[in-house]
Amino acid sequence: MKEIKQQMIDRILKAFPDAKNTDYDGNRLDIAIKKESVPALLMHAKEEMGFRHLSHIAYIDWIEQGEFEIVYILWSPSDKLKLFIRTRIDRENPVMDNIDMIWRQANTYQREMREMLGIEFPGMVAPDEFILEDWDDIPPFRKDFNTLEYVNRTFWHRPGREDAQDVRETITKRSGEEIPDFAKKYSR
Amino acid sequence: MEHILIKILGAIATFILAFIVGMTYGGVVRKITARVHNRLGPPFYQNFIDALKLFSKKTAIHHGVMHFLGPAFLMVSSVVSLMFVPVLIPGGDSWYNSWFSNMIYDGDLIFLIYIMVFGSLGMALGAGQTGNPNSSIGITRGLSQMVGYEIPWVLALVSLMLMYKTTSIVDFINVQQETGTWLMFANPFAFIAGLFALMGMFHYSPFDIIGAPAELASGPVSENGGKFLFTMMSSGSVFSFVKLTLFVDIFMGGASNLVVLVIKTFTLYMIPVLYGIVSHRYRTEQAVTFFWKWPLFFGLLAVLYAVL
């Protein structure tokens, strides 16, 4: 296992000298690379190294750095290895290369990212509305989207929720038990 | 004049009898099904409550003329076939016997075979116009399945026709009265084939893919609510009474009074019902394959038995 993993990392680093490897235990390989090389690396991993399956595409909003991070998670059925390929793109101008011709199922993730973070994928199949119909605000998974403010503006709250009491003290008083220390920090 | 009046009143009485008996049977079946499932189940008159509720619902659907005519076709077919089936043995000794002899000397089995299919075809046209895809799929499945069970059914009847050289149901009853044996013993192969066909006609499991609620959203009736559904429900009840009575007349010696009729039809009805409760659901092609295997074999055997 260890040897195969090291071999894989070496092969990637040899083909893509600008890639940065982070070591993890188990069957996980983690490669950070710049945005332009991602399609080439995905293609390389799929065709040459046996990572035939795209498990997931995760996305993270790093609002402090002004970047979005996209993580492509690949799986190699023959070597039983996971490959994480991370890349960061600019938050102000979020454009990423379209990869739905490499894996068709990437299209679904890309449509979700387009809707939830506002990342554009030029050349993507069916670039229209996916889950959020009639959405006219900033994309909701961005960290600067204030959910509660949006809810207060769009929906209604039923009165009564705000005076919800912490009932646990009443319960403990009645039953004669004590709130354990580790639970006290959750008390309101 | 008096004769015609009795005919009309008798027709109405026959219809009311068929309606009440069919609806009660439906309710009893729901109760029995519930008891088999280890439930309490609805009361046996639940179907009447349902019918009343459906009748008192407002209807604001309009899909075109054929959509209105579909349930009407179903009702017409049920009532017409009811009129041609001898509910009781003609010329029996009960005082109400003449009330239920509607037009039984005018029709014969071949006419009945035709008119019993007519309702399904009308229903197919009506459901086709609703434009609901579930309806169309249900119709396709229903008609394919009908092709399956019609063949053993017709073969069973043809074998009896060949055996006794008649197509009149009254003659069949008379034969059984004279010889003293029911035709289910005189030609057992025909009875078996007919029984399989009867199971297909009742659309209980395993042949209930036509109106499976979870798969097809109840199939052909999916676009019909309220009074449409009331019409279909009542005509279905009448039609099940017709099928049972016809089967009892042909194979089980008819019935001389209403008590015997109820006992015989209920016993017969329990066969598809009880088998249906415990069985799974066939797909259409499985159902058709089923009907074209053993029931068809028994049907052919019945014809051979009748000829030889």
Binding site: I131, D134, W156, R158 | Q46, S56, K57, A60, S222
Partner: protein
């Protein structure tokens, strides 16, 4: 259109008796609540003994049972389903999500108050309400029907503009395109 016990005619009383004892339920299984419907209907709790049974399509149904949270996307479909049902029709809101949003009260895409969009006759609270509570809710609905107080559909007709405005507020384009309510 409103009628109460004192102004009911004999016809109404008979019809309400039938309606009360024959509730065909269209269970709109959004959220997690649909899992409670199966034990309610099957042999453990057996709702059929009260005349409650499932209906396959909105055309045949009397009761629209909304089991759980409604997202903006599903509320459009629920409104369509409700408008396809035939009078008299009732709505049961099931679980705290339909009452005040429940645990999704600050979610960007689930509605909080169901009764702003559809006229709800009975709410069943709980997260999740157990089958006993569901049956209790149905019995309450039966009481309302026999007293002639389950007038949600009439309320919807009278306050149609208010309901439509609320619906259009969350999904303007969809409800502009949708066909108008017709009876």
């Amino acid at each position: 259109m409103y009628n109460d016990k004192n102004s009911q005619k004999i016809v109404d009383i008979i019809q309400n008796y039938a309606r009360k004892h024959s509730l065909w339920v269209l269970a709109y299984g959004t959220g997690c609540g649909a899992i409670e419907i199966a034990p309610t209907m099957t042999s453990r709790y057996d709702a059929e003994r009260l005349g409650i049974r499932g209906a396959a399509t909105p055309r045949q149904a009397d009761v629209l049972l909304i089991t759980g949270y409604l997202t903006v996307k599903t509320v459009k479909r629920v409104v369509r389903v409700y408008e396809q049902m035939q009078d008299p029709k009732y709505v049961i809101g099931f679980g705290s999500c339909t009452i005040n949003g429940g645990m999704y009260y600050d979610s960007y895409n689930t509605i909080n108050l169901l009764d702003r969009y559809l006229p709800v006759d009975v709410y069943i609270n709980g997260c999740m309400p157990r089958p006993e509570a569901v049956i209790q809710g149905f019995v309450k609905l039966q009481e309302l029907i026999s007293q002639g107080k389950a007038n949600g559909a009439a309320k919807y007709k009278e306050n149609l503009e208010w309901y439509k405005a609320n619906q259009k507020k969350i999904a303007p384009k969809w409800f502009e395109r949708a066909p108008e309510y017709n009876w």
